[in-house]
């Protein structure tokens, strides 16, 4: 095999079980710097669980994780943050009783020289970051409970991209966003990719995934169905993989439209 550069992240043989149910069953995948890998699969296929192993939220029963080719132990969200892995969770993981700035800086608060929280600096930074994602956002002192789904999602995205991530995990980042905001997130993904960040993107919108990803990986019932380069496959083939759990028999000839 002709080896290219070392992958930024490699997950090998990951297994997660909840009680008796295997939510992720021996899945391997990798991600290169400056690459977007889309994760696809039906509801309950194990996408969120798989990426939670990488973000330290769920312990794996078996398997290993390599970053820059070196085996690492990610046993907690702190470990993941140390490796500069940032995550936008499907559930957003916001403290509803706190405002936007408090959520954005949760666990990494800015402080004054006396060690007290520097609310003004945090609010100023938050205003700056959110302006890039959601121009209409102006509710900085209200608890995020009373914000709209899309506004809350903007805060979760802002939090993940603010802290110099090398590896970004986006679990359905645009599910609640309007057209304009979705376009801004797409723009952001392209920008981050150009900066050399590796991104896992989970979405049910196959068009979006094809639009943004370099490769797509399909899961079904916790198992890996396959990985395809977007440039070398079609949405039909990937859809068949999602639904049937195996590549269609015709996929020996993926470039069907180009066949003579």
């Amino acid at each position: 095999m002709a080896e290219g550069p070392t992958p930024l992240v490699e997950m090998r043989g990951i297994e997660v079980a909840f009680g008796g149910v295997k939510a992720v069953d021996g899945v391997s995948l990798d991600l290169y710097a400056g690459e977007v890998v889309g994760l696809l699969g039906h509801n309950g296929a194990g996408k969120s669980t798989l990426i939670k192993v990488l973000s330290g939220a769920v312990p794996a029963r078996a398997g290993e994780i390599l970053i820059d080719g070196a085996a690492v132990r990610i046993a907690s969200p702190q470990d993941a943050r140390r490796h500069r892995i940032e995550t936008i969770y499907q559930t957003l993981a916001l403290a509803d009783n706190l405002n936007a700035a408090a959520n954005l800086f949760l666990g990494r608060e800015l402080t004054t020289p006396t060690g007290l929280l520097d609310e003004e600096r945090m609010e100023a930074e938050t205003r700056r970051i959110l302006a890039r994602l959601n121009r209409n956002f102006d509710r900085f002192s209200t608890p995020v409970r009373s914000l709209s789904g899309g506004q809350r999602q903007s805060i979760a995205i802002a939090r993940a991209v603010h802290f110099d991530a090398r590896i970004l995990i986006m679990d359905e980042p645009t599910a609640a966003l309007g057209v304009q905001e979705t376009a801004m997130v797409a723009e952001l993904v392209r920008q981050l990719k150009a900066e050399g960040i590796g991104i896992f993107l989970i979405s049910h919108d196959i068009h979006d995934v094809f639009d943004l990803s370099d490769r797509v990986t399909v899961l079904k019932n916790g198992r890996l169905v396959g990985t395809r380069r977007v440039a070398e496959t079609t949405q039909d083939e990937v859809l068949a993989m999602i639904i049937q759990g195996e590549p269609p028999s015709s996929s020996r000839h993926p470039r069907e439209g180009g066949d003579p």
Binding site: T87, A93, N97, L98, A102, N103, L106, L116, L117, R145
Partner: protein, 421 residues
């Protein structure tokens, strides 16, 4: 009506705070009318402030506990055992080294109580946070265990008399600041409040954030200064009886009381302790990482954990803090009675929880203020004292207070629902 509430919104005063103060005022005025002017007197308000102190101190800690979605049913019993231990430390342990009436006795006693309170609270927090036993069960066990332990300290004997300096913590005869020092304390409080407001405004202007209008700023500042000055004025108007004043003057080694000198109470030391603890706890809750994590964990425990917060250790710290505050309350309560008995603090857990809840702390977690809990404690004590003054029997008193508790939470929920829509 609408313009009034929009004006109120401009001052950024919490409507809940305004509401609670209105309720408190209504209770005071109501009892004053019924008792023909006996309720709102310097003497009664002084007593009210001293009687509220012990519960108010614990209520500030209970806010953090409840905000974290826990509960502490053991605080009354913990107060009991800590008061007993501090009683024995100051009357039996320390005198055997330092002799009686040593000036260091009260400090060493308090330090011992604080350490023991931290340890017991931390132990309960460990069982809750790391071993995963629900706080309700752990502290229900604690309620029984520490009440039993309070008896064991002296086999049920009441400890008295206590160290004469320690007793001053309770705000009894001599345990007050007097006229001059009350004004000094009040002045410091005003300066601190105005400084904090000015700093916040400067910070917001520096970053170009919206500011509240100057008239609103001035109104809030004026109200604060007036409230502090009013408190000092009222408490300074309560005179110490001539005979007691002479005795205090003598024990302080100042010789005979000067001719025509009128001694006044002013702020009780226990009330000063409450104010200092309230300020510290407010700063901790709002402006430190620890406090931020307490509120974040209460709002969404999973989110807090995913943000890298060690919520188990945080649980230990919050319960340890609660234990230390119980020690402060134990000192205040036993000092006020000038003795430590093993039933001290019985049913205080309910008063403390009720104070926090009446003050707007939500049992669902994530929401609660320190000032609310203190006003809640004051509301409860006002009701109790007022009813006693009117001659309501003890059984009817508990019925009324129980109904008020449920009503307060009901109204609070109505208010919350109204805000969400």
């Amino acid at each position: 009506m609408k313009s009034l509430s929009s004006l109120l919104a401009k001052t950024e005063l919490s409507p809940r705070l305004v509401g609670m103060l209105a309720v408190l005022a209504a209770i005071w005025i109501g009892f004053d009318l019924v008792t023909d002017g006996l309720f709102v007197t310097p003497r009664n308000l002084y007593n009210l402030s001293v009687q509220t102190a012990s519960v108010a101190v614990m209520a500030t800690g209970m806010v953090f506990v409840i905000v974290m979605r826990h509960i502490d049913l053991s605080v009354g019993s913990l107060l009991g055992v800590l008061a007993m231990v501090m009683g024995v430390v100051q009357t039996q342990v320390l005198p055997s080294w330092l002799g009686f009436e040593n000036p260091a006795t009260w400090m060493l006693t308090l330090a011992a109580g604080l350490l023991l309170g931290l340890a017991i609270g931390g132990l309960q927090g460990y069982v809750i946070g790391f071993l995963g036993v629900p706080a309700f069960i752990v502290t229900l066990g604690g309620l029984l265990v520490w009440r039993g332990a309070a008896w064991w300290v002296t086999q049920g004997q009441t400890v008295a008399p206590l160290d004469s300096r320690f007793v001053l913590l309770g705000g009894g005869p001599g345990g007050t600041l007097g006229a001059t020092w009350s004004w000094v304390a009040g002045g410091l409080a005003m300066a601190a409040a105005l400084l904090a407001m000015a700093r916040s405004r400067r910070g917001r202007r520096k970053h170009g954030f919206p500011l509240r209008p100057l008239w609103a700023e001035a109104l809030v500042a004026g109200l604060l200064v007036a409230a502090i000055a009013g408190t000092v004025l009222v408490l300074d108007a309560y005179e110490v009886p001539q005979r007691a004043a002479e005795r205090i003057w003598q024990t302080r080694g100042l010789g005979p009381l000067p001719e025509g000198y009128v001694m006044v109470h002013g702020l009780a030391i226990s009330v000063v302790i409450v104010v200092v603890i309230a300020i510290v706890m407010t700063v901790v809750g709002r402006s430190t990482r620890f406090g931020r994590y307490v509120y974040a964990t209460g709002g969404n425990p999973d989110a807090a954990q995913l943000a890298g917060i060690d919520t188990r250790l945080l649980t230990v710290k919050v319960f340890a803090l609660m234990g230390a505050l119980c020690a402060v309350s134990a000192a205040i309560a036993s000092a006020r009675l000038q003795s430590a008995a093993n039933d001290l603090g019985t049913l205080d857990e309910l008063r403390v929880i009720a104070a926090a809840v009446i003050g707007g702390t939500s049992l669902a977690g994530g929401v609660g203020t320190i000032y609310g809990a203190i006003i809640g404690a004051l509301v409860m004590q006002s009701l109790q004292s007022g009813m006693a003054m009117v001659g309501v029997t003890a059984s009817l008193q508990s019925i009324v207070i129980g109904v008020v508790l449920v009503l307060a939470v009901f109204v609070d929920q109505l208010y919350r629902r109204g805000r969400e829509e």
